[in-house]
Amino acid sequence: MASQTLYDKLWAQHLVTQRDDGSALIYIDRHLLHEVTSPQAFEGLRLAGRKPWRRDANLATPDHNVPTTLKERSAGNAGILDDVSRIQVETLDANCESFDIEEFRINDERQGIVHVVGPEQGATLPGMTVVCGDSHTATHGAFAALSHGIGTSEVEHVLATQCLIAQKMKNMQVRVEGKLGLGVTAKDIVLAIIGRIGTAGGTGYAIEFAGSAIRELSMEGRMTICNMAIEAGARVGLVAVDDHTIDYLKGRPYAPSAEQWPAAVEAWRDLVSDDGAHFDKIVELDAAEIEPQVTWGTSPEMVVNVSAEVPDPAGAADETVTQGMTRALEYMGLSAGQKITDIQLDKVFIGSCTNSRIEDLREAAKVAKGRKVADNIQLAMVVPGSGLVKRLAEAEGLDKIFVEAGFEWREPGCSMCLAMNADKLGAGERCASTSNRNFEGRQGYGGRTHLVSPAMAAAAAIEGHFVDVREYDYDRGNAREMSA
């Protein structure tokens, strides 16, 4: 057989039927659900008198609307003060109950951001197809699972048929070779990639992230990278299986039983791109050249090195880009030539499906340890990705480090990544955020978002403005070896 890419293999293993016109039916192994994009799909099923095709493929948890303060959370759904948000969460509960779908409810310790929960439970496995009504489903590709976001009509389609109508994407390989500098993380790699190929650079492609710098990353780091493939326009991000993948999954609740484990591992070992496999596009980055990244604008591609200045729209490639940059500078309240490290901040958010896993919290805690949040920072919050991440962090004493430094330690959820709950920026407020999107209004009406890594966000909280963590005095240790 001809050499295949990892994506080609995953596609072939799930192809049910292929039509002459290029569209195909692919089989879906895992369907993750949350409260925002599922209610209309369940309603559609109900109206048509349909039932889920396969009960055990589905797993649900509320995440977008849930409050993150202990006071509200301790009251369960009743603690959700916004009526519309509460109804949405209650609707998920009711739908899961009536359609017999497993759900981790608001105060179940396994609840959390759906893209943190899936891998943590071992519900995301190599060789699976994973879909969810959420664009950051790309996260699960870190496990060599063909994973992508879908719309609500497709959520209904998957529930009813266990399949998706799809078209094969093109293959792109992004190769990151070499050794990352100290203090430079997976988040900086992916922001640098987006800066290079642009926010539409991956449209129509499945991107496989490869190279020695990717192999070196923990599963948490790989999830951060695949998570933001969509910010480069690619619905799918992938990393091949290796020992990190297999070690991470062993013993997780939904992982294969001891009896099935050897056969599963043997099959997973083949989930790599063959030598000589054809990629339609290859992009190469030198890890050693990547600096900590900071976005300055209103699209993730508007990103520069922390040592740089805010760019000048006059230097843009064409009129449309110049217009976009000018509008972004105005919205962000910045001017060309301003040093990134001079940008003063109002709030700091450490969390989201990009950066709320244990390794992210450890990195941020190392920076925060023994220090205090700067006076000009009105709120610095740490929101763990799941109840289990929270428990582990607390067992390691990370919560105490954060609280002593002046950070708020919150309950798990999507929180201020998209501000559907009460955690949001006010108009004009500027935030260093470990999330994934700096769109206008994303973190709150008129709010200004700068995307950074957890270490960069923590350092910004301490200093009140951006600093280069490479020059910051903290115990970097080796987070990779500590990975859970």
């Binding site: 039509r19 266990q162 976009g324 559907m420 769109f439 209004g441």
Partner: protein, 214 residues
């Protein structure tokens, strides 16, 4: 699904690249559990001068006079002319629901984001990709001519300007077929239930660890 065959529609120009779905419909409106009623909040942050919230009466809100859809000449537009990478970001299907609810049936742009592209076709909205040069020209013509309309014929795959110039466009055969016939995807797929069951049996035999229940 709503059928789409042919439309002679008024065109509105949205001169901005990388319009993300957060901009098309902000997050606070995603709390609805319905598919309808998003029209008044389409492009909410561009359209109004205040912050919107769900359940509010939009008619009393201050409009941004500079926003294109607030200009009376574009109020009944059914065709949105846009720039590259339209619909990027979040997978929210609320974006095409809001466009549809406002009255748009067609969006023309040099490129679209993948998830938005799928979601739009599932809701009977036709997305047409034309090269940058042609889109530039359509922008100039739309802005220069009040009441500028385009004749969009899906069967023939053409966009015809008021001058009678027919610009061809590509669309994949399956999506075109579904749109013209107004077909329900789920119904179509369930016609292949036998093939799905067969696949599932083989898949389970080869990779039993993917199935938690016997």
């Amino acid at each position: 699904m709503k059928k789409f065959e042919r439309l002679q529609g008024l065109v509105a120009p949205l001169d901005r690249a990388n319009v993300d779905t957060d901009l098309i419909i902000p997050k606070q409106f995603l709390k609805s559990i319905k598919r309808t009623g998003f029209g008044p909040n389409l492009f909410d942050e561009l359209r109004y001068l205040d912050e919107g919230y769900p359940g509010q009466d939009a008619s009393s809100r201050p409009l941004n006079p500079d926003f294109v859809l607030n200009q009376s000449r574009y109020r009944d537009a059914q065709v949105l002319l846009a720039r590259r990478n339209f619909g990027c970001g979040s997978s929210r299907e609320h974006a095409p629901w809001a466009l549809d609810d406002f009255g748009f049936r067609v969006v023309i742009a040099p490129s679209f984001a993948d998830i938005f592209y799928n979601n739009s076709f599932k809701n009977g909205i036709l997305l047409i990709t034309l090269d940058e040069e042609t889109v530039d020209r359509l922008f100039l013509e739309t802005e220069a001519t009040e009441g500028y309309r385009l004749d969009i014929d899906l069967e023939r795959q053409t966009v015809t300007t008021p001058d009678g110039e027919a610009i061809p466009f590509e669309v994949d055969a399956f999506r075109k077929h579904c749109l013209i016939e107004g077909l329900d995807d789920i119904g179509l797929t369930l016609e292949q239930s036998g093939a799905i069951h067969d696949f599932e049996r083989g898949h389970r035999a080869a990779r039993p660890w993917l199935f938690r229940e016997a």
